[in-house]
């Protein structure tokens, strides 16, 4: 078969890239080889547009066992325990087929975690939909939520935290990011690097079908009006088989049989075998006749590019096959030796006793293209409206508008569809600043949270990038955890567009600065470009997933008010920043200006001081102040507890709207027992923290002297209606 320009284009490769392939091979590729190149060189697998920027991120620290580059990141949480975690996008498939797209997103990220020897203990997600008024949003929301639940519930890993947001920027390109967190023994981490010659390469798990062929290439292109026709490129998930695969792998990992292991995710058999060989500096030879197939007459091309789910590739130590096979037989899973490691440094593909493809491994891995894409700085715009000329609004009306909006309504409708409690270690569930998961059989725990702020990132990418890291960090602090490390999922538009590439570069700059300052390294992540349809790009939406440690878990700290008549302290300074606030967006549909400034020094100082107070058991409840400002945060503390609060008017700042709805950063509300107030103030003063005593808790009503009085029951009702009526 002659490879025409058309075939090359269909494989998502540019003319330049094709030339390069011919040069590397010193000949023309055949169709199979071209397919393998397209699978490895697409954006999704090669990170060709992002790599130069990603390498600037801080990835090291005392707490880091394994940074980016493996299936997932690994951090040290003391004793012999390690936490393995990663977030990944499944945006494109979820838009085309929401249930399966979301389900396999969860399945894929779980495999990344248990591949490394960790038992998954928590799932999180960040999902972004278009405007609720858009005709597709409702069915996409339903499909994605059932898909996430369908997979996680069946496999029996609790889905404990997440965020759901609506914005018309996602009308034609939703975001579905899934994060998995696992627990492993520090000395029992498994990696993908192959070692040794003539070692058996074993295929385990589900059979290979024709589903998902070219999935990774699909995820590396923009959508157009024909996107529906891409449905066959979406994989179909089977959480039951994944549960068996997980148990079988974890059972095999108990002894020393495995040299290296890699899940077959995007680009299936191709990327897993190339990854293992390239990391090990070896060649790999596969006999494709042996690949267990679900369908008849599958060609080598289809086998190499299939993205059928729930499959793994393992390189075994000599003489361990029999014992390993026994384990997979017990779980009724396929176990077939399909190849061996070689010293040729080639990926050699055999079929019916003939070599049907042979490519130098490095041509697929380290020699894959890297692009230094042109980018331009964001032209930031100050807001053009005059706040004083806006129609006056009562605090109560503005608050009700926010609490009843799709973006701020209680997400119970969603989270009730996820099993949050299975495994019996979920200490704090969804709806909190962060979830708390106990380490099984121990008295320590981790806190986890995912966060994003697309509006901030759109208007000022550097500040937005900093802000999401800080917000994530704060969320862990508020539940009493010491933040350790993050994973990030970078969802952006078309990188060939210089403005979009600029958003990427600047968001990353912000993330880097904040992570460095807070000693909060990035240990894993994923980039998703080409989020958009017909040249309309989504807002830049980096998502941060953070993990923190609670060394000794006694009483979990939540944001629910605990009792009446305790004192409320606002930590951090309020300037009243309203640009880009949800107050302006929900009440006036104004989406202008710059996000609140992020002062990393204050972030660090305020957060670390609060953690001191928490560790001294001086705090009854605490909550970070984010979207919607102070009064929204107070409402959330009331709604979740049924206890109200009486808030005094501020002494200095005169504009109450700015005071109560401003979104200034590095702020927390804490509830303090009356007799601890002295100690708390002393520690805050010693650490040079700006704080205000803003009032006290009381029964039934949330109240601002002379301005607002609303019962907690009403607040609850207002906050819980939207989803049920949608």
């Amino acid at each position: 078969m002659i490879i025409t320009d058309q075939i090359v284009e269909k494989h998502g490769l540019s003319k330049e890239e094709f030339k390069n392939i011919k040069k590397l091979l010193k000949r023309d590729p055949n169709l199979l080889e071209l397919g393998v190149f397209s699978a490895m060189w697409n954006e999704h697998c090669s990170y060709k547009s992002s790599r130069l920027h990603l390498k600037n991120l801080p990835t090291k620290g005392k707490q880091v066992i394994q940074g980016p580059g493996e299936n997932a990141g690994v951090i040290d949480i003391g004793d012999d325990d390690a936490i393995v975690f990663k977030i990944e996008s499944h945006n494109h498939p979820s838009y085309i087929e929401p249930y399966q797209g979301a389900a396999t997103g969860v399945g894929g990220i779980l495999r990344d975690v248990f591949t490394m020897g960790a038992r998954p203990i928590a799932l999180l997600n960040s999902i972004h939909f278009g405007s609720p008024k858009h005709s597709k949003t409702k069915s996409l929301l339903n499909g994605v939520v059932s898909g996430i639940g369908g997979y996680g519930n069946c496999i029996g890993i609790p889905t404990v935290a997440g965020e759901t947001k609506f914005n018309e920027t996602y009308n034609e390109n939703i975001l579905v990011n899934a994060m998995a967190v696992g627990h492993a023994k520090k000395d029992k981490i498994f990696y993908s690097k192959a070692k040794g010659l003539n070692k058996s390469v074993v295929y385990v798990g589900s059979k290979t079908g024709r589903d998902g062929i070219h999935g990774a290439s699909m995820a590396s292109a923009e959508f157009d009006e024909n996107s529906e026709s891409k449905k066959p490129t979406v994989q179909v998930g089977d959480p039951f088989t994944e549960k068996l695969l997980m148990e079988a792998c974890l059972e095999l990992m108990k002894d020393n049989s495995i040299i290296s292991i890699q899940d077959m995710g995007a680009a299936g058999l191709t990327s897993s075998s190339v990854e293992m060989a390239s990391k090990g500096g070896l060649g790999i030879e596969l006999e494709l006749d042996k690949v267990p197939c679900r369908e008849e007459n599958m060609s080598p091309y289809e086998m190499m590019l299939s993205e059928s789910q729930e499959r793994m590739l393992i390189i075994l130590e000599d003489g361990k096959e029999q014992n390993a096979k026994k384990i997979f037989d017990k779980w009724d899973l396929d176990f077939v030796v399909i190849g061996k490691t070689t010293n040729t440094n080639n990926l050699t593909l055999k079929y019916e006793n003939q070599i049907v493809g042979e490519i130098p491994v490095e041509a697929l891995a380290s020699k894959a293209p890297i692009y230094d894409r042109k980018w331009i700085k964001k032209k930031t715009k100050k807001s053009s409206f005059n706040f004083k000329k806006l129609k006056k609004i009562k605090i109560e009306d503005a608050l009700i508008k926010i609490l009843s909006s799709p973006n701020h309504s209680s997400k119970n409708w969603i989270t009730d569809q996820y099993d949050q409690s299975v495994m019996c270690d979920t200490v704090l569930k969804s709806g909190s600043d962060a979830a708390i998961i106990r380490i099984h059989n121990k008295d320590k725990a981790i806190a986890v949270s995912v966060d994003s702020s697309a509006n901030y990132c759109k208007s000022h990418p550097i500040t937005g990038g900093k802000q999401i890291v800080c917000e994530n960090w704060r969320n862990l602090i508020t539940v009493g955890a010491k933040p350790l490390a993050i994973t990030n999922c970078l969802n952006f538009g078309n990188p060939e567009n210089q403005e979009i590439m600029g958003e990427f570069a600047e968001c990353l700059q912000g993330i880097k600065e904040a992570c460095e300052f807070l000693n909060y390294p990035v240990v894993s992540g994923n980039v998703s470009f080409y989020n958009g349809t017909n040249k309309k790009n989504i807002y830049p939406t980096p998502v941060i997933g953070g993990v923190g440690l609670i060394k000794k878990l006694s009483k979990p700290l939540s944001h629910h008010f605990k009792k009446d008549k305790s004192s409320l302290i606002l930590i951090g300074k309020t300037f009243g920043h309203l640009d880009q606030s949800c107050f302006l967006k929900e009440n006036y549909s104004i989406n202008e200006g710059l996000p609140p400034e992020v002062n990393l020094l204050n972030e660090k100082n305020n957060g670390e001081s609060l953690l001191k107070l928490i560790n001294k058991n001086l705090i009854l409840s605490s909550h970070d102040i984010s979207n919607g400002g102070l009064i929204t945060a107070l409402s959330e503390m009331s709604i979740s507890s049924g206890i109200g609060a009486k808030i005094l008017k501020p002494k200095k700042l005169t504009n109450l709207i700015e005071y109560f709805f401003g979104e200034d950063q590095a702020r927390y509300i804490v509830e303090v027992e009356d007799n601890s107030i002295g100690k708390v103030e002393k520690i805050l003063k010693e650490n040079n923290i700006f704080f205000e005593n803003i009032g006290f808790t009381q029964n039934e009503f949330l109240e601002i002297e002379g301005e607002l009085k609303i019962s907690t029951k009403d607040l609850f009702k207002i906050n819980n209606e939207w989803y049920n009526n949608y």
Binding site: C154, D419, V422, C424, L553
Partner: protein
Amino acid sequence: MKSSVIVFPGSNCDRDIAVALEKMQFKNQMVWHKETKLPKSDLIVVPGGFSYGDYLRSGAIAGKSLIIDEVIKAAKSGCLILGICNGFQILTETGLLKGTLLRNKNLKFINKDVFIKVINNETRFSKKYKKDQILKINIAHNEGNFFTDHNHLNELKDKNLIAFKYSDEKGNVSENSNPNGSLENIAGIYNANKNILGMMPHPERMVDEIISNKDGINLFSSLLN
């Protein structure tokens, strides 16, 4: 007291129940579904999860597995059997319990803490509870909507075989307190001999104050005595 937990492919609450049993000082063993013999047990637990992926119909394939014949034999000789969630579904598939579990009325998976009322507190499973005691307990299922025929419903009532009913915090049993559409708010039932209990809520999730509460403990301590 010796207990056995049956493990099917796809069971996922097997570890949770084992932890709860061991915490309550049961001598527990896990029994793989391909086994053809049961260890000597005073209590057999069929745990929650998605046995065989719940393919075909929840509990249907597990209800035909090798070990189930042994469970049926043990049940008939009076051994105590507890089926939780998927375990309850499996027990109805085997015929050890009558009735069936339909899809939840809202057609969605539901996970939340609900309240149930102890209807019969005079069995081996419930004697440590007070009559009409209200328990706060976690449910997590897609098919928990209990249904049965008229004759069986009458039998359940006449012979006091209803174990728990969904209620509100104050014990009112009404449509508002029914999370999944179950017939007469039924959350758990006994067989005629009262040696088999099937229930949709998860008592094993309610034995630890730090993650939830201790409302499930008395079920296990009832069994111990």
